[in-house]
Symmetry: C2
Subunit: 130 residues, 2 copies
């Protein structure tokens, strides 16, 4: 038994697909339909084996629900080379503002949000003191 | 930039750690503290590179919130050899009931829930018709 992927629920599949591919640089490599009408698309970043699934449940299907913001999904983390540059670029490309870049220990962090409000952590090495 | 891990928020770190290690068979391999008092533990299954982080925010710390059940975290998927056997075993070990095993296409599925109510999908190959 092994952990294989994380599936997040999205409110608008095309919007989320666009976000995770065009803004976050992932690639969709598998997709399918569930027996009840739900749709899933699996994504990976080039050079990483981590899998993210987008799950969409059309209104009227068995597992549709009115979207509620909750606590369970804390964040999706992306490793980046330059946190500050990437943070600015992602905002320009349409990611929602989260937390501006800051340092902690040897690392630098920032947060943006996806179209459904999921927090996305950017983590990278800290800047060397000059 | 690449997707590195999923972080879920837990209400009781020891309870969730016990669940993901003793029941779901994962191993904790990294842990740390956030500047604001939050605690994280990173887990992997033996034989898989997928990372799951448990995030705990103690009451009184900056990112603590009253836990709300929401829609974003759809499910965590685990690949298993025998869905029916594993489903029965996980219930015995304390996982909460989700959806009893069923077939779809070439695969077999079942769902249980973690201590915070996160849906856990069990997916495995379908049984050959006898």
């Amino acid at each position: 038994m092994y952990f294989r992927y994380t599936g997040v629920r999205v409110r608008n599949l095309q919007r989320s697909l666009r976000f995770y591919t065009k803004v976050m640089g992932m690639k969709a490599h598998l997709e399918g339909k569930m027996w009840h009408g739900g749709v899933w698309v699996e994504l990976k970043s080039p050079n990483s084996s981590q899998r993210l699934e987008l799950n969409y449940y059309p209104p009227g299907t068995k597992y549709y629900e009115k979207f509620k913001t909750g606590s369970e999904m804390d964040h999706l983390a992306f490793w980046v080379k330059d946190v500050d540059k990437r943070y600015a670029q992602l905002l320009k490309k349409g990611a929602k503002k989260g937390i501006a870049p800051f340092a902690q220990g040897k690392y630098r962090f920032a947060f943006v949000k996806d179209p459904d409000g999921i927090w996305i952590e950017l983590i990278g090495r800290g800047k060397r003191p000059s």
